[in-house]
């Protein structure tokens, strides 16, 4: 079985259809090819690189949330020891443009010009012979500010008298629209039950252990720019730099270095522009900037999802959900530069979760405030959305006296209904939600957990069970974000596969290491396809000018996409090799097949030539090449999901190609005296189709649980009323440690995708989609009988303790 990706190209939909009698690597856990260099500290993370003549950048940042820049005095700093260049907003106005944004027109220059809009905004940058001297010189800069009243509370951002973040816009509202899918009013009018609640998801974010870093070098003769950096998507970063810095796109060369995690929140646009302009100002010496952690927390791509929700669920008398309405006020911060608005659009890809809810509505308002611009973060918006939907499902279950597992089961999309188009327009490829639920109920011994809960409550302890299942939309497409102004359909990912004269395989790609193990997956696929060992395959990361079309990791996409690219390129190469082998075997190409690393005549035992010999003949024996075959054992293929549709006027599109799903059950205990939550047990049944590398999937699932625990209980960026960030270190912004993250019990389910290479679904964000909702549902299950309800994330001890003060007496 194969997916017909393009005429003449065969991409197998099942591992069994690879040209091997027995796949030895793909679908199995193997040692990662990335690991030896990472374990020995040899990976070339950006701060490990150094170039001759390199200078070091330090950045002076705004201490105010909102202020006019009256004057900047850099005279003394310019004369400080080791300083070679000082860059200000004036230079940026002369040499660059405000950064492009989604929604359009809400960007600024990389250094402040007329005013500052958030605490931590870059104002002046210095290049010096080392970072210590650069930071010394920052202290010699005098900036005179005229403070302006800040807008910090998003609920007041649209008020007529609110201070304006961008005066020329005349409003702080970046986007306001209502998307209606079906007769929502009718459904709610006819409903037997309607449940409405408000929810608050506070700011949190990615915090990879490596911050962003870059080395930029301007070429003043060629008028060209080369940057090495921890870029998550080097190609899109390069395109935007071309626009911002006024360079032809083929004069901008970006190279993504291995980086220490991203989770969507690596960022780096400002740092890249600042170092590029500093390098330009000093005539082309390379300039390095490594963001420090406090810069990251206050001024990096660290903050996401500052959201105020009001949502309603309509049900009929049988507990069938008939409608779902969400009103979201999304506080994007000072600009739209961080691409965070896209997180308000992505929920359309799985708006109604696992449920067959026929109609829905999304009332979306995105506002600007004087806080750090919002960025993407693992999950890109659905984690808060799922928290809202799943909390409402629990509220409905509780009010109607139905077990939360049963209410969910009644509303699942039945497994025979796939592919299934949801109200918000996306199509789910496949799934079996009953199976996931049954599996996790059995794993957790759900009834026994209920008994445990009852026994504990009799002792006055607050135990609660959360049961949540979600969809993880996988293989993102730009069309999913059309409602916030993102253009495009299709996200090509390419691979160039070549075989050398000794039969060794190289594969060139446009992304670097980020942690998900994609080099290993790529190696597994190609080793099985060509019947070679893992060590015979080498992945070669290329820069933006030499790589095939690429996006890189993001949107639960790369595992599927790069598998498609590798298999497409392998198929093109196979077709070439067959022509050459047919000549060598003196038969017709139609009689020749690739199997287990040999080109053989079908059905004739022994009539075969090893792969290396055929590739060698292509490169070194032109006299043996059939006409029309080039002397190049290499092929390039760019894969993108087929059948994607542009969004209609209500934002509906076939966007994310796959719908993985997972069902989590968690048991928590809430300490009534302190508001502290302890996770006692955690079970996961997870279905992401074919697992290309089970350990990769399991690792990302557990990592997603950890970030979900952080979101649910610990992590929060707090600003005071003046717009000052109060959580500017890891002493205040709390990342989960081994003490908070549960060791989970996991079970893998496999409902392959009918549409993807090898049947794999996008994976990596699913647990982050699910865990925060599951923990909040568990907390409410523990405290509901006290007459209180937790509706804010994170459910920190203080927040829960405050809530519990309102508990019913005697509860």
């Amino acid at each position: 079985m194969a997916i017909d990706d393009r005429p003449g190209i065969t991409i197998p939909n099942r591992i069994e259809d690879l040209p091997t009698s027995q796949a030895r690597f793909i679908g199995r856990t193997v040692d990662r090819v990335e690991d030896p260099m990472l374990l020995t500290g040899r990976a070339e993370f950006i701060d490990n690189l150094s170039f001759p003549g390199m200078l070091h950048c330090a950045i002076l940042r705004s201490p105010h949330a909102h202020a006019r820049v009256v004057s900047i005095d850099i005279a003394e700093a310019s004369r400080a020891p080791g300083v070679l260049a000082v860059l200000t907003g004036e230079d940026c106005q002369r040499w660059s443009q405000p950064t492009p944004t989604v929604p359009e027109g809400w960007g600024t220059y990389c250094l402040a010009t007329d005013k500052v809009r958030f605490v931590g905004e870059p104002v002046v940058a210095i290049a010096a012979t080392n970072r210590y001297l650069a930071e010394d010189a920052l202290e010699l800069i005098t900036v005179e500010y005229e403070e302006l009243p800040p807008i910090v509370d998003a609920t007041k951002a649209a008020d007529a008298n609110a201070p304006l973040v961008f005066e020329d816009k005349g409003s702080n509202v970046m986007l306001q629209r209502v998307f209606t899918w079906g007769d929502v009013d009718g459904a709610f009018a006819a409903a037997a039950h309607v449940f409405t609640e408000t929810f608050r998801w506070h700011r949190l974010g990615a915090n990879p252990i490596e911050t962003f870093g870059v080395i930029s070098q301007w070429d003043p003769i060629e008028n060209a720019l080369t940057c090495h950096g921890s870029f998550q998507s080097q190609y899109h970063m390069a395109l935007a730099r071309s626009i911002v810095l006024g360079l032809p796109s083929n004069k901008v060369r970006l190279m993504s270095q291995p980086h220490g995690g991203s989770f969507g929140g690596k960022g780096g646009a400002r740092g890249t522009d600042i170092t590029a302009l500093l390098s330009r100002k000093i005539g082309g010496r390379p300039v390095k900037w490594i963001e420090d952690r406090m810069e990251y927390l206050a001024g990096g791509s660290s903050q996401s999802w500052d959201r105020h929700y009001e949502a309603s669920l309509a049900l009929d008398a049988n507990g069938t959900v008939t409608g779902f309405k969400v009103k979201l006020l999304d506080d994007l911060g000072a600009t739209a530069e961080g691409w965070g608005a896209v997180s308000a659009a992505k929920p359309l890809a799985a708006f109604t979760g696992c449920y067959a809810i026929p109609v829905a509505q999304y009332d979306l308002t995105i506002v600007a405030t004087n806080k750090l611009p919002g960025s993407p973060y693992r999950g890109m918006g659905p984690p808060p959305h799922n928290f809202v939907l799943e909390s409402l499902m629990d509220i409905a279950a509780r009010e109607l006296g139905i077990d939360p597992a049963d209410l969910r089961r009644r509303n699942y999309i039945p497994k025979d209904q796939f592919p299934y188009t949801i109200a918000s327009g996306n199509e789910y490829d496949s799934g079996d939600y009953d199976l996931a639920l049954d599996t996790v109920l059995e794993m957790s011994d759900y009834q026994k957990l209920r008994a445990e809960q009852a026994a504990a409550r009799a002792e006055g302890r607050l135990l609660g069970i959360g049961l949540v299942n979600t969809i993880e939309p996988g293989v993102f497409d730009w069309n999913a974000y059309a409602i916030v102004g993102q253009p495009g359909t299709g996200v090509p990912e390419g691979a160039t596969v070549s075989i050398d004269v000794f039969g060794k395989i190289n594969v060139k790609v446009g992304f670097s290491l980020e942690g998900q193990g994609q080099y290993t997956v790529l190696t597994q696929v190609l080793a099985d396809y060509f019947g070679v060992e893992l060590t015979d395959v080498r992945v070669v990361p290329c820069d933006t000018l030499s790589a095939p079309p690429h996006f890189g990791p993001g949107g639960s996409r790369l595992g599927v996409s790069i598998t498609g690219a590798a298999l497409g390129a392998a198929d093109l190469l196979r077709q070439k090799l067959i022509k050459v082998a047919a000549g060598l075997l003196q038969t017709e190409p139609a009689n020749v097949e690739l199997m287990d690393g040999k080109l053989q005549i079908t059905g004739v035992p022994g009539a075969e030539i090893p792969l290396a010999q055929v590739a060698g003949a292509m490169i070194a024996r032109s006299d043996l090449l059939p006409p029309g075959v080039d002397p190049n054992a290499e092929a390039t293929y760019a894969w993108t999901a087929t059948g994607r549709t542009p969004a209609d006027d209500q934002g509906r599109a076939k966007s994310y190609l796959t719908a993985a799903n997972a069902c989590h059950v968690v048991l928590v205990e809430v300490d009534r005296e302190t508001g502290h939550v302890e996770i006692l047990k955690y079970f996961i049944a997870d279905d992401c189709g074919t697992r290309l590398n089970p350990a990769n999937v399991e690792g990302m699932t557990q990592g997603g649980v950890a970030q979900g625990v952080g979101a649910a209980l610990l992590e929060e960026y707090c600003y005071n009323e003046d717009g000052q960030l109060l959580t500017s270190t890891f002493m205040d912004y709390l990342l989960p440690s081994v003490y908070e993250v549960p060791m989970t019990e996991k079970k893998a389910l496999v409902t392959p995708s009918p549409f993807t290479p090898l049947g794999a679904k996008g994976v990596g964000e699913g647990a982050m989609h699910t865990t925060p909702a599951a923990i909040l549902c568990a907390i409410n299950d523990a405290v509901a009988h006290l007459g209180v309800r937790a509706t804010a994330v994170p459910a920190s001890p203080h927040r829960l303790w405050t809530l519990l003060q309102d508990a019913k007496p005697g509860g």
Partner: protein
């Protein structure tokens, strides 16, 4: 700017005499002057543990320690672990147990665990947790790291039983 000081320290068994400003952090000395870039910087305020090294055998944060404090001491970094092209048993265990993803925090974990297993070759789960509790990993959710430590304990014990020196 204070007068630079000349210090002598042993790093992974090699003696270095270097002249540094008193404010230079130990991690900047290791990564910059000595070119040992395997030790990473994650937070620069002593919380995340990515920069953990061994100072006279004790696991310490090299981002909040000054280079001059290491004068006369023995420092061990991740570069010391693999020998003759072979991974150290703890590194091997991390690979087999999938104890890393992006790998940025990993050198810090390796050094902490190496200290633990030198001090306590057969630690309890609580001891392991106590050690891992000082390190932040944003990728793995710790479960596979825990497994890796258990595997490393076994590998080291097997090596000792076989009379190896690891």
């Amino acid at each position: 700017m204070a007068t630079p000081r000349t210090i002598t320290l042993s790093v992974n068994g090699t003696t270095h005499q270097v002249t540094v400003e008193p404010r230079t952090t130990l991690v900047d000395l290791l990564r910059g002057d000595l070119g040992l870039t395997g030790t990473h910087v994650g937070c620069e305020h002593g919380v995340c543990g990515a920069c953990t090294i061994l100072w006279n055998g004790k696991a310490v944060r090299s981002c909040i320690m000054l280079a001059v404090q290491a004068d006369g001491s023995e420092v061990t970094t991740v570069e010391s672990m693999a020998q003759d092209g072979e991974l150290h048993p703890i590194q091997q265990a991390f690979m087999e147990a999938h104890g890393l993803q992006c790998g940025f925090c990993t050198p810090g974990f390796l050094m902490s665990i190496s200290e633990l297993l030198t001090r306590s070759p057969d630690p309890t789960d609580e001891e392991i947790k106590d050690t891992l509790g000082g390190q932040i990993c944003r990728c793995t959710g710790y479960q596979s790291i825990f497994t890796a430590v258990r595997l490393a304990i076994k590998k080291l014990a097997d090596a000792r039983a076989a009379g190896g020196s690891a």
